[in-house]
């Protein structure tokens, strides 16, 4: 399995990458870790005319605490995320992506820009209320997670934009739970749930739930969130809220799961993730 022929350029700066993309038109693709793109190219499901390799842009690597939140360079690997415990649920979710070799190459920017609803990090970004920065010919813009994911493998990024960084709120005072369900640990999520809970005394002040692979994009379990917000943070209320986790979802069926089974999994995993987060 061999990729089709393509041209290759390795820019030394983000602006050069943007220019290369803009010049080449829609068939050009960015190459970072390559772990979303190259598998598709090997199966010839993706046939770009030009690869713009941003792997050398060292400025885009790293994790920093800044302005009360987190700055994560787009080229930061899952492996780095996984070993940065302070990132909480992001570290946990990253540690469950595929396998170690993939985590050593795959990047947060690549995963988000690919927009695969079965990938772990998109739903985490969505639940956390993170945002990404994109730089294009017209300059930089910020895209909140809620706007980033538009459809299956489709994001709000323009073909000539480079996702340069990811920003996450610090979420101090929040606790988290992460549940990923798959047949084998190296597989994509059949369903994944990222739950964030902010307790106030015995009750739930706020809650945010991200769902992986429950539609063509990562989703928030809004009905479940609504059901728990302001309620006592106990096992009973968590369970009741989790019952609504699949509302408004349209999960794709595949060889491993029917839509109905996935809705069921979403409810079970949401309850478990909330239980983890709430410690109940």
């Amino acid at each position: 399995m061999i990729p089709a022929d393509f041209d290759y350029t390795k820019p030394a700066a983000v602006d050069e990458a943007v220019k290369a993309l803009a010049d080449a038109g829609e068939d050009a693709r960015l190459l970072a870790g390559g772990h979303s793109l190259l598998p598709l190219m090997k199966l010839r499901l993706a046939v770009p005319s030009l690869l713009v390799d941003i792997g050398g842009l060292e400025d885009l690597r790293g994790v920093e605490r800044e302005n009360g939140g987190w700055w994560i360079g787009a080229l930061t690997t899952h492996s780095t995320l996984q070993s940065t415990d302070e990132l909480g649920v992001v570290a946990r979710a990253a540690s469950l992506i595929a396998d170690q070799q993939v985590r050593n190459r795959g990047t947060i920017g690549g995963s988000l820009a690919h927009g695969d609803p079965a990938a772990d990090l998109p739903a985490v970004l969505l639940a956390c209320g993170g945002e990404v920065t994109a730089r294009g010919p017209g300059g930089e813009r910020t895209i909140p997670a809620s706007d980033l994911f538009q459809d299956y493998l489709t994001t709000a990024l323009a073909p000539d934009e480079v996702l340069t960084e990811v920003r996450l709120p610090a979420l101090d005072g929040w606790s988290w739970g992460y549940e990923k369900f798959n047949r084998r640990s190296e597989d994509w999520a059949m369903v994944g749930v990222c739950a964030l809970v902010k307790a106030s005394g015995e009750s739930c002040e706020d809650v945010r739930i991200g769902l992986t692979h429950m539609g063509s994009v990562p989703l928030r379990a809004s009905a479940a969130e609504e059901a728990l917000r302001g309620q006592p943070l106990d096992a009973e209320h968590v369970s009741q809220a989790a019952e609504q986790a699949a509302e408004g979802t349209n999960p794709p069926g595949d060889i491993n799961a029917t839509p109905d089974y996935k809705r069921h999994l979403a409810r079970v995993l949401t309850r478990r993730a909330l239980q983890q987060a709430a410690g109940v």
């Binding site: 010839r44 499901l45 019952e243 799961a257």
Partner: protein, 824 residues
């Protein structure tokens, strides 16, 4: 020149480190794709995207224009290159068999997805891959049938019009009066089983290189059977066997998939002949999933009768075997191969077996690790479990009641088969020493109280292997047009080191080590100085290869016999030189000595030196040299057996099954190398766990393969598995002098019923009575939901679930792309 040191004896039985490992752990092993020959070209195959179609045109002009492309050929182009079709070797006497010809490249029609319709040859891998995309083939699709039972129904689309039916053949065997046996039963249980289609999935895909030098062809192939491959391919290509050499270099796992002669092997030879340059073809994993033969794929209808006290009276089985679109080497035979052990470890006075083979528009089935025996073991063991529940008996007690007792071996079954040796109580006793059932039941109850569903399943299997007594399986026996003896040649060099040539051809089993141990003891040399050569038709005698757990019991025995012949000659030389009678020479501590006189002794190095450079004292009636050949054709199969226990946890909310403990006690006779036995069992058991829980080859209703990569064909990883606990008993076989039985397939044969029974045991409190493999989370969840719908088991943890329907559009996951979404 260094003289080999004289060791002690007693290498057999030692857990020696493997001799093959140093090359493999350093990257020095050489597999087919590692071989690059001067001027070598690369072939890629154009394959059908249609499951059943007529080819209306093939336009290769654009492909031929591409840079680097040397040639493109269609089936019609190469029609004269293949005077004969690929081989199918089972022609049972008295059975009408519908066998279509299988050509290396299709001629005008395709019968399954992936069928080869053209071949592109280019000067590089990448150029060849590009050119394949440029070959334009027009197909006129035809109706497709993928379900073997539907294929037998009136009005089904036909895979082959010319036969007027999708039935390939029907084969029966019976013994005892089955109708009377079932009539006298107090209880009969019936069950339909599905032994689903699986893939062997060796991590090395197949590969082949054809080379022409002068008028001689050489094939390098990732094969388990170089000699059979030469035999078959000489016919397909119409070349004399002496002009065709087949080399199996290092082979990266086979599991039965490389017990085959494949179209691509014929193709690279024909291309090398035509083009005068070496041609390599390397299979991709996607091709491996599509057109390397699959296995299993049977539906079995089983009826088992017993008296109220548990005494078994009769067993009746009807099997529908999905053979796919063509018949390859052993395609038709594999369902029958299990018949000797269809009665399991039990005394059953009457057995009646019917097997129907069926064409479908899928790729061929053939041997995959176990090959017919895992299927049979799956249903006999689970049917015994079901009978135990029906009788209200403990399944272990029911087994013990019906075990063939140790003292009744050799035991003649009603099917005219003789089990060589066995001690079924012995392995079960040992299993139950390691696995405390009472403690487990207490733990299970305690966990159940907390909503943790843990279950145990047992399997007490018998396997038939050591393929095979040629008279029993040959043309006038079961009907294979082949024989299954094995050969060995043992050569001692002038310095006393030795080379063993074997006709068996390993792919991970460790012949280099175990065969060296066998020879070393008999030669009085260190196994480190015994080299084992295999996998080359130009070196050593003819042989039948490695499969069917035969290498040790047949090939190892041939090594022992050849080495003993050498030993006899060495004794004669020794006797002459020490001025003693040959019968007075004995081996002691690895030396040849006059009986009872250690001071009058010679080493093998001394003797080998004399054999090659004969001193004057040596009588002229002793031929020079020290080299002997033996051929061994066993008089019976061997019948290994064992008792396994599997413990699983089932997440009753999600349906996910986890194996938490596996204990295997197996008996394959006296150990040659216990390390290798444990390794075979561990790997075999995990292969079966894969089959039971994770793996399935899935075609959709249009005959499209859904599980075309390792994304969807889910081999278990280390993270899904526990360690596999192993133990042994040793009951010698009378069939060979080593007393050994095969062990390569035993784990795979024994384990699927244990895993399935464990899941059923865990789920019984929830009202689940039956489940078919693979026990995927979705299947288990659906069974739980169905049980709840019947009002069985404890109240649900969730409310308000709607009834499940398959399908749903939208996205799939991962790199398989959106077009596969919704497949179910």
């Amino acid at each position: 020149m260094s003289t080999v040191e004289t060791p002690g004896t007693g290498y057999v039985g030692q857990a020696m480190k493997r001799k093959e490992d140093p090359r493999m752990i350093t990257g020095g092993a050489r597999y087919v794709d590692d071989i690059a020959l001067p001027g070598m070209l690369y072939a890629e195959i154009v394959r059908s995207p249609e499951a059943h179609a007529t080819i209306t045109s093939i336009d290769a002009s654009a492909a031929r224009e591409r840079p680097g492309v040397v040639a493109v050929f269609t089936g019609e182009d190469l029609a004269d290159d293949f005077p004969g079709p690929m081989a199918a070797v089972w022609h049972p006497p008295g059975v009408e068999m519908n066998t279509p010809p299988l050509w290396p490249l299709s001629r005008s029609q395709v019968k399954h997805v992936g069928e080869a319709v053209a071949v592109v040859v280019a000067d590089g891998r990448y150029a060849a891959a590009d050119a394949v995309e440029d070959v334009v083939v027009d197909y006129e699709p035809r109706p497709v049938v993928v379900d073997p039972e539907k294929a037998l129904q009136e009005g089904s689309p036909l895979v082959w019009d010319e036969f007027g039916t999708n039935r390939t053949h029907e084969w029966t065997v019976s013994g005892g009066d089955i109708e009377a046996a079932l009539a006298e039963a107090d209880v009969t249980v019936e069950q339909r089983f599905v032994n689903h289609r699986t893939a062997g999935a060796p991590i090395e895909p197949r590969g082949a290189i054809g080379e022409l030098r002068g008028d001689s062809l050489t094939l390098y192939s990732s094969t388990q059977i170089p000699h059979i491959a030469r035999f078959v391919l000489s016919g397909v290509l119409g070349v004399s066997e002496d002009k065709l050499r087949v080399i199996a270099p290092e082979v990266g796992g086979g599991f039965g998939t490389k017990l085959q002669v494949y179209p691509e092997e014929a193709l690279v030879l024909a291309l090398a002949k035509r083009l005068g340059r070496p041609v390599k073809w390397t299979e991709s994993r996607s091709e491996n999933m599509t057109t390397t033969h699959h296995g299993r794929d049977q539906v079995n209808y089983v009826t088992l009768g017993a008296k109220r006290d548990g005494t078994l009276t009769g067993l009746k089985v009807r099997t529908v075997a999905d053979l796919g679109a063509y018949q390859m080497l052993l395609t038709t035979f594999i369902p029958t191969l299990g018949f000797p052990v269809m009665g399991g470890a039990y005394k059953i006075p009457a057995i009646d077996i019917t097997i129907e083979g069926v064409f479908t528009n899928k790729f061929c089935t053939d041997a995959i690790r176990g090959a017919g025996r895992p299927e049979a073991t799956y249903w006999i063991e689970l049917t015994v479990d079901k009978l135990a529940r029906e009788l209200g008996m403990d399944p272990i007690d029911l087994r013990r009641k019906n075990f063939i007792p140790r003292e009744e071996f050799p035991y003649d079954t009603p099917l005219g088969i003789t089990y060589d040796s066995g001690d079924y109580h012995g392995t079960l006793d040992k299993l139950l020493e390691r696995f405390d059932v009472d403690a487990f039941r207490r733990e299970q109850a305690e966990l159940g109280g907390r909503g943790v569903y843990r279950g145990v399943g047992f399997s007490t299997y018998v396997e038939v292997c050591g393929l095979a007594p040629s008279r029993a399986v040959g043309p006038k026996g079961v009907g294979l047009h082949a024989a299954y003896w094995e050969s060995a040649m043992v050569r001692v060099h002038p310095t006393g080191s030795a080379t063993v040539f074997t006709g068996a051809s390993p792919h991970g089993q460790g012949h280099d080590t175990s065969f060296a141990q066998i020879a070393a003891d008999r030669l009085g040399v260190d196994p480190q100085n015994v080299d084992v050569i295999h996998g080359d038709t130009d070196q050593g005698p003819w042989g039948w290869g490695t499969y069917g757990s035969r290498a040790l019991a047949v090939g190892g025995e041939a090594v022992a016999r050849a080495a003993e012949k050498v030993q006899e000659k060495a004794k004669r030389i020794c006797a002459a030189l020490l001025e003693a009678a040959p019968e007075d020479i004995e081996m002691a501590d690895g030396k040849f000595q006059v009986r009872g006189s250690p001071d009058k002794s010679m080493t093998m190095a001394d003797i080998a030196g004399a054999a090659h450079i004969p001193p004057q004292e040596l009588p002229t009636d002793i031929e020079p040299g020290l080299e002997e050949t033996a051929f061994f054709d066993p008089e019976n199969f061997v019948y290994p057996f064992g008792a396994h226990a599997c413990v699983v946890d089932v997440d009753a909310e999600t349906g996910k099954v986890s194996v938490v403990r596996y204990v295997a006690v197996d008996d394959c006779g006296p150990a040659i190398n216990p390390k290798l036995i444990d390794g075979q069992i561990q790997g075999g058991v995990v292969h079966a766990i894969g089959q039971a829980l994770y793996e399935q080859v899935v075609y959709d209703s249009e005959g499209q393969l859904v599980t075309g990569t390792f994304v969807d064909y889910a081999l278990p990883t280390a993270a899904e598995l526990p360690g596999i606990e192993t133990d042994r008993t040793e009951t010698p076989s009378p069939v060979n002098s080593l007393g050994v039985k095969g062990v390569g397939e035993a784990g795979t044969i024994g384990a699927t019923p244990a895993v399935t029974a464990a899941v059923l045991d865990a789920l019984r409190p929830l009202g689940v009575e039956w489940l078919e493999m693979p026990l995927t989370p979705r299947r288990v969840w659906e069974a739980l939901k169905e049980a709840r719908g019947r009002g069985a088991g404890p109240p649900p943890t969730e409310q308000g679930q709607e009834v499940s329907e398959h399908g749903g559009g939208g996205a799939g996951s991962g790199p398989t792309g959106p077009e596969e979404a919704g497949a179910s």
